[in-house]
Symmetry: C2
Subunit: 159 residues, 2 copies
């Protein structure tokens, strides 16, 4: 296999950019993620591939819940805030205000839509990311938007 062809073909897969949050007890984590897709209508499932050593994965494992937030295409700066380690200050995470959702995971206030989810399974046996199966248990659409996608951002994640 030609590694360059593999990298470039994989980068033609289209992904959105999302903020995934989770919480377990006092610990909260939030991370920008891109490898996610719906996986079922009934029940409504989402699948996401998450870095195995990440805090957000640890929180999902312990807290059993996560919130997947959609970013508007004008919200690149918010995406960038969650490239780095999560820091809580008062009621904000990395400078973004949050509230508590129906689960143990924090809901960010300034994002146009989110899916609050129960963790159904975490499969770590396949590759360098865990495949997390999430069931949507609550959702909110605050504003109709055109979502931020990786191809329209300055970043790449894939290949």
């Amino acid at each position: 296999m030609d590694p360059k062809a593999k990298r470039e073909a994989l980068r033609l897969l289209t992904n959105g950019m999302y903020i995934l949050t989770s919480g377990a007890g006092d610990r909260l984590a939030a991370s920008t993620v891109t490898w996610a897709s719906q996986a079922s209508f009934k029940p409504p499932l989402v699948m996401a591939a998450i870095q195995r050593n990440s805090n957000v994965l640890r929180c999902m494992r312990e807290g059993g819940a996560a919130v997947l937030h959609i970013l508007d295409r004008t919200q690149r700066t918010i995406a960038q805030k969650f490239f780095s380690t999560t820091k809580r200050a008062g009621d904000s995470l990395n400078g973004e205000a949050y509230t508590t959702g129906k689960t143990s995971a924090p809901v960010l206030r300034n994002l146009p839509a989110y899916l609050e989810c129960k963790v159904i399974d975490i499969r770590e046996e396949y590759g360098d990311h865990a495949i997390v199966i999430l069931e949507v248990v609550d959702a909110q659409l605050r504003k109709h938007v055109k979502p931020l996608i990786v191809a329209d951002s300055p970043w790449r994640y894939g290949g």
Copy 2:
């Protein structure tokens, strides 16, 4: 949960449109799919959620291989061809020429890039789609393109 909010928030997840092909013995299947994403760098994995009663899933189960083809954003008519049952005529599937790849799955000739994959696992216990884990074993980039995405198409799949 408000079903309308759930549907609309899920439809803000961004997906590309792909043609997924598979083969087992004499049987070939090809289908337009949208719920797919990379899932690991090492090994290079892709995850896809596929309708459980589909021929393409049956072929993947029996043949153990699949090819995920990227569509250029001008190739909506090719996407539409693979909404319906696969019909082979000579060396074409639903009117699209194919060749045999390195695996048992057919490779379509008129698409700009593809990922040839070995089926690693098929998980049917979660929802109304099977989650298929694929390892990329070969890839070709024939042309740099802007890929077709669901949001730029007349179709929706999700919610």
